[in-house]
């Protein structure tokens, strides 16, 4: 690997990945709907979202999952270092109809080194004080 090297001390269990904070607006959700093909109206139509019992329009879970992945791929250098990635969507990211949208803050920590040398990275994501991802975990192979 050439362009980016994770310092050796960043690979030990307990090492924190750089925290990132992202902003998600209604416009972002419309753009994501178009790019992903997921046109579920709960992600862009407040009337439908509230009718089915949601507090407001909510972000696609896959938007939150993609944002959380950034914390790992930016740290690892090569996005393909991520060999497994899974999350549980623990709570909605509620996106108001304004210009600032919602804020999502993602933290990550090297949880352990697996027997095969790969690293388990555990992630947390919060929005408006609430946990929005649970059991968020990536298995990463950092070339040495």
């Amino acid at each position: 690997m050439t362009s980016h090297d994770v310092a050796a001390h960043d690979l030990e269990p307990g090492a924190q990945l750089p925290t990132q904070t992202f902003r998600v607006t209604r416009a972002d959700l419309v753009r994501y709907a178009g790019a992903s093909g997921d046109f579920n109206p709960i992600h862009w139509n407040e009337r439908i979202a509230t009718r089915v019992g949601l507090p407001n329009v909510i972000a696609h879970g896959m938007v939150t999952m993609a944002l959380a992945a950034r914390v790992v791929t930016d740290w690892a250098g090569d996005p393909a270092a991520v060999e497994e990635y899974g999350v549980r969507f623990a709570g909605p990211v509620v996106v108001p109809d304004d210009d600032t949208g919602a804020e999502v803050t993602v933290t990550g920590v090297v949880k352990r080194r697996l027997d095969d040398g790969r690293l388990q990275v555990d992630l947390t994501a919060r929005s408006d004080g609430e946990k929005v991802l649970g059991r968020a975990r990536a298995i990463v192979r950092i070339p040495t």
Binding site: M1, T2, S3, F22, D28, R31, Y32, G34, A35, S36, G37, D38, F39, N40, P41, I42, N45, R47, I48, R51, V52, G53, I58, H60, G61, M62, V63, M65, A66, L67, A69, R70, T73, D74, G77, D78, P79, A80, V82, E83, E84, Y85, G86, V87, R88, F89, P92, R135
Partner: protein, 157 residues
């Protein structure tokens, strides 16, 4: 309406492969706001040891979501009544432009919980030569249709 448990183990496959486009990868990376050059610039990707640009880790949702839609339609589940419960990917290699990917979907779990239905599917994605590329597990939570008033689809209004 609970999902018929006989769907457990049910498998189906798309008729035509999904062909990965360079511009689709860029569009998806733009949509998630990720400026990583490995998704856009072949030279940057080559510097990381890849033959061409690669797709972001969550890109497989583009075709696995589409592959799940016929099942949801068959089960009578409306999009507006589902939320995403869990998602997991296991990658054998990164996705690249020109990949022609076949997607085989299997229903792995169906369970009612507190009036909702949890449905877990596994999508196995392979390249034209049969090489396994990625597997994706999706759990959706189907909620009951609200009683009244009649909800419309929200499309085109």
């Amino acid at each position: 309406m609970p999902i018929d448990p006989s769907y457990l183990g049910h498998s189906f496959a798309s008729d035509t492969p999904y062909e990965v486009g360079r511009e689709k990868i860029r569009e998806f990376a733009d949509a998630i706001g990720d400026p990583n050059p490995a998704y856009r610039d072949a030279e940057a990707a080559k510097a990381l040891g890849h033959p061409d640009v690669i797709a972001p880790p969550t890109f497989p949702i583009v075709f696995t979501f589409a592959a799940n839609l016929p099942l949801l339609a068959e089960l009578g589940i409306e999009l507006r009544n589902i939320v995403h419960g869990e998602q997991r990917f296991q990658y054998a290699r990164p996705i690249r432009p020109g990949d022609r990917l076949a997607c085989a979907v299997t229903v792995e779990n169906v369970r009612p919980m507190a009036g909702d239905d949890f449905l877990t599917t596994r999508a196995d994605i392979s390249a034209a030569d049969g090489e396994h590329v990625v597997s994706a597990w999706s759990t959706i939570i189907a909620r009951p249709e609200p009683d009244a008033p009649e909800a419309d689809s929200g499309e085109g209004r």
